[in-house]
């Protein structure tokens, strides 16, 4: 795995992942998505360098509902807080909780799906029936139920969303592993004495990553929306901590007269979700063996 990542990152154009990057680069929409996402990520990641967190929470009632201007780029909200600061800091939560959720459910999905797909039989039945149970409940409802059970808070919301996304990853990983487990190189790996764990994590998962990576990027968009939805419903990130969905929720009463209050955080959500989806589409095409030429 270590080896693969090293070669996958470099633009050598020779390794399997190098070829994927080569094909990905040719997809203009996907590259645009990648740049937008990197830009947004850098902007929110480096926020402390150019925005004082005080601006996010300090209220100044005399300064409320200021339309976008030179000092307040995105205007101010009903409490006179700078919307630009709130959107930038809010993005930290939206995007990084989103990424954390994806990573958590990705790892859980790889382990569960790997075990189910490789061992089959009883192991598969038990894991997949539990996964089916979770899958039967809509993700957002499941997250709400978990938040209700665990209580409010960013960390708990993260777990709630990860629980809701894990079944999806489990299914994809399982099917991808099942297609590979009878390949000759797996048989060969057994023949030179690899243990089951080694076969799953070193041979099967790296080979079955294609569809999983595509799904990861597409799911990231979904998760960002889910975080916003939970925020909007008031059970996500608690005020006054900003988060794109929470900002929308707080300002919804004033959107009629001050539309920028809704438009700007909404546009941020839409833009990042779109960027992520373009990347996912591009990756899917780049990883599709039928597109090889």
């Amino acid at each position: 795995m270590k080896k693969r990542r090293k070669n996958g990152g470099a633009v050598s154009g020779r390794s399997v992942w190098g070829l994927v990057w080569f094909r990905f680069k040719k997809n203009k929409l996907a590259m645009a998505g990648l740049f937008v996402l990197i830009f947004i990520m850098l902007a929110v990641l480096l926020a402390p360098l150019y925005v004082d967190y005080q601006a996010v929470v300090s209220q100044k009632i005399t300064n409320r509902f200021k339309a976008p201007n030179a000092t307040n780029w995105f205007g101010t909200d009903q409490f006179g807080r700078d919307l630009f600061a709130r959107v930038v800091y809010g993005g930290r939560i939206s995007l990084f909780v989103g990424l954390a959720v994806i990573m958590l459910s990705f790892v859980a999905g790889c382990i569960l799906g790997g075990l189910a797909g490789y061992f089959g039989g009883v192991v598969d039945q038990v894991i997949m029936r539990i996964v089916d149970m979770f899958m039967a409940i809509p993700a957002i409802l499941l997250s709400m139920a978990v938040v209700a059970a665990l209580g409010n808070g960013t960390g708990k919301m993260l777990i709630a969303l990860a629980v809701a996304q894990t079944p999806r990853f489990t299914r994809i990983v399982r099917s991808s592993i099942m297609g590979l487990r009878n390949q000759e190189f797996i048989e060969a790996a057994k023949c030179y004495g690899s243990s089951s764990a080694r076969i799953i994590f070193k041979h099967l998962l790296p080979n079955g990553m294609g569809p999983v990576i595509v799904s990861t990027t597409l799911t990231l968009g979904q998760v960002i929306i889910n975080i916003a939805s939970l925020g909007f419903l008031g059970i996500g990130v608690a005020s006054p901590t900003p988060e794109w969905g929470t900002i929308l929720s707080e300002t919804k009463a004033f959107i009629r007269y001050y539309p920028y209050l809704g438009l700007i955080p909404g546009a941020c959500i839409a833009l990042s979700v779109m960027a992520v989806n373009f990347i996912g589409d591009g990756l899917r095409d780049a990883l599709d063996p039928r597109m090889k030429n």
Partner: protein
Amino acid sequence: MGNKMQKPANENLLEIRNLHVRYNTDEAVVHALNGFDLTLKRGETLGIVGETGAGKTTMALSIMRLLPKRIGEVTAGSIIYDGIDILKASANAMLKLRGKRISMIFQDPMTSLNPVQTVGSQIYEVLELHYPEMTREEKHRRVDEMLELVGIPPARKDEYPHQFSGGMKQRIVIAMALISKPELLLADEPTTALDVTIQAQILELVRELKRQFNTAMILITHDLGVVNEVCENVAIVYGGEVIERGTIEDVYVREKNHPYTEGLFGAIPDLVTDLPRLKSIPGYMVDPTNLPEGCKFADRCGFCTERCRRENPILHRLSDTHFIKCHLFEEGSNHE
């Protein structure tokens, strides 16, 4: 070969006794091995020849204990490898055996390498699994040496399998199989997927390395010519049984052969005699889901008698090395 003499006589590396294996599929029960017997001495090279479906690969997988889970089942018999009862050994003991003391080469080099790992790291992995005490530098050095031995420039070890040709991939597979210096190499049709010139190179390589490492080898093939080139002994397999076994001279001199072996020889084109058509063995391979009571070759055999249909022959001894499983060779009877 000379190195056989260095070992004490009678020292058997592998003994397979009366092995019965069946596959329980949804449609039918397939009897893949039906009383398979085999002994292999240290350093010996044995060719196993038989048609598709004769049970050659099943035998190899049984030795590795890698029969398909839930489907393959050993119903009787034993496999003793150097005193270890393979069928009763623990899973952990098998992990230590596979790849270290017994290695296997597969038919298709195109698919037997992991496509997303560099070839160097795949060879390295075998050492990592079986020689944890070795330092990193030592392992890397061994990988380089092994690549050199199989004729791949070590500089190419950071490349991926798709960047190599079929013959080179098979060389890499051979490097993986031999880097741990196993006592037994199971080669399951190692040259079938390669073209003839590459085939000769690979066989030469296998023969050379086998000699260098003093590895015993079971070469599974359906090509009598390949066996003649590489092996000292040969076993002919039909319907999941060894029906003839002997040294290359015993079998290839064609004085006394099982009717099936004669059929196999008859199907090889010959440069000397002018034949309008090759002779093929009439009929089809015995149906492993529905085995006859008597000799499994009876339906296709020109010498078939009433007795052959009733009673499965035992292995008759023709000489110290030559054995044939056919009623024709019963003590006292003479076969033309």
